[in-house]
Subunit: 152 residues, 2 copies
DNA sequence: TTATAGTCTATAGGATTACTAGAGTTTCAT
DNA sequence: ATGAAACTCTAGTAATCCTATAGACTATAA
């Protein structure tokens, strides 16, 4: 399951992507418009900032801005930052591989075999879909419809 | 993440698939061989039984058996029984659709749009991979290699 | 009739999730 | 300078979920 937190993060980013460029957006503004608890959103944005997706100005006239073009911010990255690896098992992750604690023999593990396929097909979608790709209302948005399961 | 419970369920089923046919297997046998806590495994097997994947005999000479051919037991079904819907959001599920509590407009929700693609590609893999498909050591097993992401 | 083996209900401890509180720091406007 | 506005940071907390465990109950074969 996608966490509530990750959902909030996506909503905030999409909101920023639609905001007037170069004009910092208040946390309370995002919180109100997207119905996200403000204090919780603070933590989320801070996290996204540390990972370079947004940046911020402090003090009066402060606020948040997207740090990159909406075409360059991908679902996969956001979800990894907030929820961790896309894979359903540590041993099936490519970006954060870890052996399973109770694994007998990884090479023959049937569960891993299947979950690697799942992780790959999931990553293929999430790492190739940007904010802009799903926004029908911004310039150059929704250009590429990624047919589910088709090769990229 | 796949729960520990679902992993145990898969291990138990794969173990049963390899067992001598028509000869009930003890819970303790599975528990020992697959290092699954016995009492926990009891709950899991009971659940799988209620869903028709295994059946059981009580009393002396009792035990568990696969209720279907290993070609007819799919990862998707097992995971749904133990962990619930494959989709990452209730609103992205096809087998257990539910509106998200805080959803403003489902038709334009960008997150849903993407997570529906993910759920579809995940389901395409998990609902088409059977126990037999991943077992290189049983007759007729591993017949079909599902190229990740390719059409079925 | 007794030992064996599955069935069922209840519960407990730890981890995670989704927040909340409150003090601290930076910046702008006056 | 100073005060209000806004982001930053560290804790803490309530509720829920996960991973079991305990123990009584029921069915069956020898």
């Amino acid at each position: 399951m996608l966490s509530q937190k990750a959902k909030y993060a996506m909503r905030a980013l999409l909101y920023l992507a639609r905001a007037e460029p170069n004009r910092p957006v208040l946390i309370s503004d995002i919180a109100d418009q997207q119905s996200v608890p403000k204090k919780f959103l603070e933590l989320i944005l801070l996290d996204l900032k540390r990972h370079g997706l947004v940046h911020s100005y402090r003090g009066k006239k402060g606020g948040y801005l997207l740090a990159k073009d909406p075409h360059q911010i991908f679902f996969g990255q956001v979800i990894r930052i907030i929820d961790g690896p896309l894979a359903q098992l540590p041993c099936a992750s490519r970006t954060a591989y870890r052996r399973c604690d109770d694994c007998q023999d990884e090479r023959t593990c049937e569960i891993r075999k299947v979950l690697m396929q799942v992780r790959d097909s999931t990553a293929r979608i999430l790492d190739n879909t940007s904010l802009a790709d799903v926004m029908s209302d911004i310039p150059g948005g929704a250009a590429r419809e990624l047919a589910a399961g088709a090769g990229i």
